[in-house]
C-alpha cells in the first residue's frame, strides 16, 4: 500500500496530501455558504435554497470521497503513532462525517442536528488541516 501511494504521488506524498487537504477545506467553507443559503439564513438574489441544497449535497459527496482518500493515504503511509493532535482530530472528523451522513440518510426529527453537525465537521476540518497542511505551509506560526 505504502509503495502504491508513493508511486501514485511520484514520491510527493506530503505535497499531494497538502493540496488535497486544502481543496477539501476550501470546499468545506463553500459548503457553509451553501448551507446558509439552503436554510434561508442567507438570501442571495441569484440562488434558490433548493439549488443551494442540491449543490451542498453534491460537493459534500465529493468532499467525503476526497477525505477518505486522504485519510487512507495518511494512515497507510505515515501511520497513526506519530500523528499526535492531527491523528486525533482526523479520527474525530471521520466519526463526525459518518454521523452526519447517517443523519442525512435517516432524516426525520434528527435532521435538526444537521446545522450543528455541519459546523462541527467544518471546525474539525479546520483543526485537522491546521495540524498538518497548515503546519507544512507555515500557517499559524
Amino acid at each position: 500500500m505504502e509503495q502504491l501511494i508513493d508511486e501514485l504521488t511520484r514520491g510527493n506524498v506530503t505535497e499531494v496530501k497538502v493540496v488535497l487537504a486544502t481543496v477539501i477545506l476550501a470546499l468545506a467553507v463553500y459548503q457553509l455558504l451553501l448551507a446558509a443559503v439552503a436554510y434561508g439564513w442567507l438570501r442571495l438574489p441569484f440562488l434558490e435554497s433548493a439549488t443551494a441544497s442540491w449543490t451542498h449535497r453534491a460537493s459534500g459527496d465529493a468532499i467525503v470521497v476526497l477525505t477518505v482518500l486522504v485519510a487512507t493515504a495518511c494512515l497507510a503511509y505515515y501511520g497513526f503513532e506519530d500523528g499526535g493532535a492531527h491523528a486525533v482530530f482526523g479520527c474525530i472528523l471521520l466519526g463526525a462525517i459518518a454521523v452526519k451522513v447517517v443523519v442525512v440518510r435517516v432524516g426525520g426529527r434528527i435532521s435538526v442536528l444537521l446545522p450543528l453537525l455541519g459546523i462541527s465537521v467544518l471546525t474539525l476540518f479546520g483543526l485537522t488541516w491546521l495540524t498538518s497542511a497548515g503546519d507544512f505551509l507555515g500557517v499559524g506560526g
Binding site: 511520484r10 514520491g11 510527493n12 505535497e15 497538502v18 493540496v19 486544502t22 481543496v23 477545506l25 476550501a26 470546499l27 463553500y30 451553501l34 438574489p45 441569484f46 440562488l47 434558490e48 433548493a50 439549488t51 443551494a52 442540491w54 449543490t55 453534491a58 460537493s59 465529493a62 497542511a133 505551509l137
Partner: protein, 71 residues
C-alpha cells in the same frame, strides 16, 4: 431581481465549486515552488550535465597540454 433558471443556478454553483478547487490547487502549488520530485530531478540532471561538460573540457585541455609536452 428575477432568479435565473434552476439549471443555470446549478451550473453556476458547481462552476464556483470548481473555481474554488482550481484556486486552492494553484495557491498551494505556487507556495511549494520547485519541490516536486520531477522538478528536483530535472534540476539535478542539469547540474550533472554541467559537471560532465566541465569535466570533458578539463580532460580535453589536459590532453592538449600533454600532446604539446610530448611531441
Amino acid at each position: 431581481m428575477r432568479r435565473p433558471p434552476q439549471t443555470i443556478q446549478i451550473l453556476g454553483s458547481v462552476l464556483v465549486a470548481l473555481a474554488i478547487v482550481a484556486v486552492a490547487i494553484a495557491v498551494v502549488t505556487a507556495h511549494f515552488g520547485p519541490t516536486s520530485t520531477a522538478e528536483l530531478e530535472a534540476r539535478e540532471d542539469v547540474v550533472k550535465e554541467r559537471v560532465e561538460q566541465r569535466e570533458e573540457r578539463r580532460e580535453a585541455r589536459e590532453e592538449a597540454r600533454e600532446e604539446r609536452l610530448d611531441p
